[in-house]
Amino acid sequence: MSTLVLVLVTGVGLGALYFLVASGLSLIYGLMHVLNFAHGVFLTLGAFLGWEVASRIGATGWPAFLLSILVGGLVGTAFATVTELALIRPLYERHIEQVLVTVGLAFAAVALFEGIWGSDPIFITGPAWLDETTTLLGARIPNVYFVLMIAATALLASLVVFLRYTRYGMIIRAGVENRAMVTALGIDVKKSFTLVFAIGGSAAGVGGVLAAHYTGYVSAHLGQTLLIFAFIVTVIGGLGSLSGAAIASVLVAVLQQLANYYLGGTGDLIVVVALAVVLLVRPRGLLGRRPA
């Protein structure tokens, strides 16, 4: 019983981490039809610079941890914004070139990060509490999972409020449905492209810092590893659907954890099988819109 609780709760926590990455991917794809392979770069950069700042201060307590999250978020936002403005926007409406640019950026950035920070993982320490456990229904759950869940819940809630109640949120929802008609109402839809990159980048940057504390290290490949699962989650949830991404994040991660514990570490395999099944049975994903 307590093992099952452990597996389920850690699954939800891992799903929360996936969602921090997948939410941005999904928004970007939904509005711009660009699969952003550089999304992992935002995450890795957030993790490295968050760690740099915390270690410069030389502290491992809460203030340093919170500061590194702030830095991660800001770095992710800034880098994603620059990426959109400098690389994506000049290729407006040329989706294949846009995707290729993000692939190129991903490769280049990993090489650059290895050049700066080396190719070995850098082990990090945060507040001791993160590594301690809280007992829930007999299961001893590492506290870092709760932090992940809080972060993802806060992200989901703010995205929902933003999309639902602000004018830019309205433009993004309308743009996901019919971008041309948004411009035909006199709205410059390109501004919201930059905005979704910025939002996705900030979530990924925060996710990078949290991912580093979750795995216990930072490395140049941190982002790309997570990105693969985030892509799978986004596709299973339905490309462009935020709630789909949220549901699929949790489903996929719980399934992955269950398989890892009960089916001899076959989690990754099961996820790929789940992806294949969804693509065969319901290619538009759980909540994706029907192709027009």
């Binding site: 004018r167 309205m170 433009i171 309308a174 019919n178 041309a180 035909a184 006199g186």
Partner: protein, 244 residues
């Protein structure tokens, strides 16, 4: 009478296919000008070309200023309202949100729109995707009427609507046309007769005729040749249901 829109040698293409071949015409700055022509001759593409929604070449001048180099949103911001052929309301947004998105000026003409379409006021909170076709058309027309535009481009606003709704939409356009010129693509010839002063006839991606709307529709031989119909009969299949 002066000209609000001047189109000179505009061609437009979708992908690699040219769908409008060098059309030239002008739209007077008052009243409703009809665009007529058989299905598939390029009426919709002409409007979309003017708006920059599809690739176009040639000169398009709005109130004396060239707009053919501008992106769509800038053209619209200069005072062009667009009611697209298939309504294109945002299905997952409410009626109120659809209308709010269209508001470009500090004091949008909400009262005017509410007066024309009281139904929409009642249905403010309803998802536009769950509205009837007629109600969606009202949302689409309302979006264009909320601002003080210099020109409206309206594409088959009565397509597939029941007679009562056709009347309501035509009445709204008639009322709007007192303050803004309208370029109207319309297959329902009764509506054209009621609303339009001038008409432009397009065939094979070119303007082949222009003149007084009633005169064109009164000329049996001309209408049969250019529109493939008799002036008193519906122009196409979906016209039949409109005159019960």
């Amino acid at each position: 009478m002066s000209t609000i829109l001047e189109v000179a040698g505009m061609s437009a293409s979708i992908g690699s296919q040219q769908v409008v071949e060098s059309v030239s015409f002008s739209v007077p700055d008052t009243g409703i000008t009809a665009v007529l022509g058989r299905n598939g001759v390029g009426k919709t593409s002409t409007l979309r070309g003017i708006l920059g929604l599809i690739k176009r070449k040639g000169e398009v001048t709005l109130a004396g200023e060239r707009i053919d180099g501008l992106p769509t949103h800038r053209i619209v911001q200069r005072g062009v309202g667009y009611v697209p052929e298939d309504r294109e309301v945002f299905a997952s947004l409410t009626v109120a949100e659809n209308l709010a998105l269209a508001e470009r000026q500090a004091n949008p003409r909400r009262d005017f729109v509410a007066h024309l379409f009281p139904d929409l006021v009642e249905r403010r909170a309803q998802m536009a995707g769950t509205l009837s076709g007629g109600q969606q058309q009202m949302v689409s027309v309302a979006r264009a009427l909320l601002n003080d535009n210099r020109l409206l481009l309206v594409d088959e606003p009565t397509k597939g609507l029941a007679p009562r709704i056709v009347n309501e939409v035509a009445g709204a356009l008639e009322e709007a046309s007192r303050t803004v010129p309208i370029l109207l693509v319309e297959q329902n010839l009764e509506v054209v007769k009621r609303l339009a002063k001038d008409a432009i006839v397009i065939d094979g991606g070119r303007v082949v005729h222009r003149g007084d709307a009633r005169e064109i529709l009164g000329d049996e031989e001309l209408t049969r040749r250019l529109l493939g119909v008799h002036g008193d009969a519906p122009a196409d299949g979906h016209g039949t249901e409109e005159r019960a």
